[in-house]
């Protein structure tokens, strides 16, 4: 009996967690199917099933292109950051050299400056190297928040792996590069996928840089494209379209999570690494 109660309590908790996460999204989806004055009325269940907002968003010429831009930028940012971060993290976590703590703090300090203050200076840099109005400007700019994050998280996880796992490889005379790719990468999957995913979403959602460094509509990324969705007149906020667009851009991320599921959860067993 107590076991049953525990089960029920557990699933109630799960239900609550799902409800609070999903409800605003559900409400957004609900709103996305309304239009006109109906937007201002409260409903809990779908009253009409009107896909015109979705049609409007997807048919607006550049929106599908904007999604591809975001996919490109976020993917490249994550790949480069993970590559740089895994190797850097190995150096910072497993190789003894002087000034490691200071170096880690310096890297972290990049994340202590308000993004808004970096904007003007970064704009100058982007223009100086001719990347203005190019997706590569965003790839470069997003390193400012993905690199410190990925380096720190991966360093933490790598430091906690037992010494023994690389001992054999070192004795065999393997180079650090081989050790990183052959020994650590397979063990680091949950951490890599998790940090990659979080960094991906961060890059996917960034607004300020994307607004400032890009001026062509067909090069815009998704958050800016959504902000540019507009009503017929200046003050009118096109709630229906905005919600439809948000639903559209959230779906790929959910798909991403579902695809990488197993990797997040693979994990270690102590036996596997001889702990």
């Amino acid at each position: 009996m107590p076991r049953l109660i525990k089960q029920v309590a557990f699933y109630a908790l799960v239900a609550f967690i799902v409800l609070q996460s999903v409800f605003p999204f559900y409400y957004a989806a609900l709103t996305s199917m309304k239009s006109g004055t109906a937007l201002f009325r409260v409903n809990y269940l779908p009253v009409d099933f009107n896909l015109s907002n979705y049609m409007a968003v997807l048919g607006n010429g550049t929106f599908p292109r904007n999604i591809l831009n975001s996919v490109f930028v976020a993917t490249v940012v994550v790949l480069i950051s993970l590559l740089l971060a895994v190797t850097a993290a190995y150096a910072l976590a497993r190789i003894q050299f002087r000034g490691r703590g200071l170096l880690l703090l310096t890297i972290l300090s990049v994340s202590m400056f308000p993004q808004i203050a970096v904007l003007a200076g970064l704009f100058e840099v982007i223009r100086a190297i001719g990347l203005y109005n190019s997706l590569w400007s965003l790839v470069l700019a997003y390193m400012i928040f993905t690199l410190p994050f990925t380096v720190w998280v991966l360093t933490t996880f790598m430091r906690d792996l037992p010494v023994e796992i690389e001992e054999a490889a070192i004795v065999d005379g393997a180079s650090p590069w081989t050790i990183v790719t052959r020994v650590f990468l397979p063990l680091m999957w949950p951490a890599l996928v998790t940090t990659g995913l979080l960094a991906f979403i961060h890059a996917w959602n960034e607004f300020l840089f994307a607004l400032t460094f890009i001026s062509n509509d067909d090069l815009r990324t998704v958050p800016v494209a959504i902000a540019l969705l507009s009503g017929a007149t200046e003050f009118e906020v096109p709630w229906g379209n905005i919600m439809a667009a948000s639903v559209i851009v959230t779906v790929p991320l959910i798909a991403l999570v579902l695809i990488f599921q197993r990797k997040i959860i693979s994990g270690l067993t102590a036996g596997g690494v001889k702990g």
Binding site: S35, L39, L211, S215, D217, T233, E234, F235, E236
Partner: protein, 424 residues
């Protein structure tokens, strides 16, 4: 385009091409940033198309979100970096003095056409003798009222704030007693932002409370009339205006209005066309009047509107000026006004029979264009945004019960003196 053509003159075909191009004067590629959206943007694109056909230039539209404070920040950043990628900027009426240094003086280019515009709109864009931008269209707020409700309860359109308050209260109470629990009396924009400065300035001026900062630079805001005007607005919150007014911008008020849940609303002309849409609960049941007056003043409406300016960093200033003149010309304004309800800035259109027939609403504001109240942007120059921010904060604090109007205005006066220093 020019350099491209110059680069390949060796080939005969290119030579022919460049000859062709030279007949169309110089074909430049220019960029315009407007922050226009939706229908307005579509309209602009049609007009740009005919400009391109006429002149041979090509025009690229750089889009920005419709929030005007975001636009201002972007402009600042681009202009500070000397960005040559954008030639023409659409500017709010209050931006001209703040960005004056970075736009070219249009005076020499516009001597032939300057008389076609309302002098007040030209004055608002002239800073120290320099014409910073050409007026494109103006917006003048009004008092939206429900014709059906006023009729049912036998009330006249209020001329003063006190009449408005009483009427709003009576009708609201009666409607609520009738079962319409979500009815409100009066809607206005009370969130702390530029919109509150506009609303607040109207309360002040219409009550003889001054212009916050007068044209000669004098700081006049701390006076009993102004305090009384703010206190009156405070008395609306929670009685005839929803408590949420403190977070409302234009669109929030329109939402409630269009559901049929208010007797009066202060708003810009855009709400007119939307209220007449088919799914609107108040279609055919409302009209717009001048804003009410106070005891010591006359009806006052804040001048809003947009202008076109040419960047100092433009590499094609001549083509850019050509575009600005084209878009603000009476013909182009006429084309626009046929589709929206903003007031044109070209004098001739107010006598135009076609416009009179098609858009009588937009022409209602002819008198207001000369009498509309300008925010103190010309006198406070680059400090205007801060002045405005200090003012809306004082107004917001008063509305939300954080200090009395008198205390808040006293503090505001002090801060304005400090901000002014030795001069604006």
């Amino acid at each position: 385009m020019k350099s491209l053509l110059a680069g390949c003159t060796i080939s005969g075909a290119a030579l022919a091409l460049s000859l062709l191009a030279s007949t169309a004067a110089r074909a430049d590629e220019i960029s315009i940033v407007t922050g226009l959206v939706g229908n307005d943007l579509g309209l602009l694109q049609e007009q740009l198309k005919s400009f391109e056909d006429k002149t041979g230039h090509t025009v690229k539209v750089v889009s920005l979100p419709p929030s005007s404070s975001d636009q201002f920040s972007q402009y600042r950043l681009w202009l500070a970096a000397g960005n040559p990628d954008i030639d023409v900027y659409r500017t709010d009426v209050v931006w001209a003095p703040q960005l004056a240094d970075q736009f070219i003086d249009l005076t020499p280019y516009t001597e032939d056409v300057i008389d076609e515009y309302f002098p007040s709109t030209i004055r608002s864009q002239t800073v120290d003798g320099k014409l910073v931008a050409l007026p494109w269209y103006a917006t003048i707020p009004g008092l939206y009222y429900r014709t059906d409700l006023l009729e049912r309860y036998g009330k006249d359109v209020p001329k003063t704030w006190d009449e408005m308050t009483t009427t709003a209260r009576e009708i609201m109470d009666a409607e609520r007693a009738d079962g319409n629990a979500s009815m409100w009396g009066f809607l206005f924009q009370g969130a702390p932002y530029e919109g509150l400065t506009c609303d607040g300035l109207e309360w002040l001026v219409s009550s003889g409370g001054g212009n916050i900062v007068e044209a000669d630079g004098e700081i006049s805001v701390n006076n009993p009339n102004a305090a009384a005007a703010l206190e009156r607005a405070k008395s609306w919150i929670g009685t005839i205006s929803p408590p949420g007014t403190l977070s409302y911008k234009e669109e929030d008020t329109r939402g409630i209005w269009q559901l049929g849940n208010a007797v009066f609303m202060r708003n810009w002309p855009y709400a007119y066309a939307l209220g007449e849409q088919d799914d609107s609960a108040i279609k055919g049941k409302f009209d717009v009047a001048p804003l009410p007056a106070g005891e010591n003043g006359e009806s006052a409406a804040t001048l809003g509107g947009f202008n076109l300016a040419v960047s100092k960093y433009s590499e094609h200033p001549d083509a850019a000026v050509e575009l600005v003149k084209y878009l603000t010309s009476p013909e182009a304004q006429k084309y626009r006004v046929m589709y929206n309800s903003n007031a044109p800035t070209a004098v001739a259109l107010y006598e135009d029979p076609e416009v009179q027939a098609k858009q009588p609403f937009a022409l209602r504001w002819e008198d207001s264009l000369e009498t509309a109240v300008s925010r103190p942007s010309n006198v406070t120059k680059s400090k205007y945004n801060e002045v405005s921010s200090l003012f809306w904060t004082a107004a917001y604090n008063t509305l939300s019960g954080n200090g009395s109007a008198q205390d808040n205005l006293e503090e505001l006066e002090l801060k304005l003196y400090q901000l002014r220093g030795n001069g604006w």
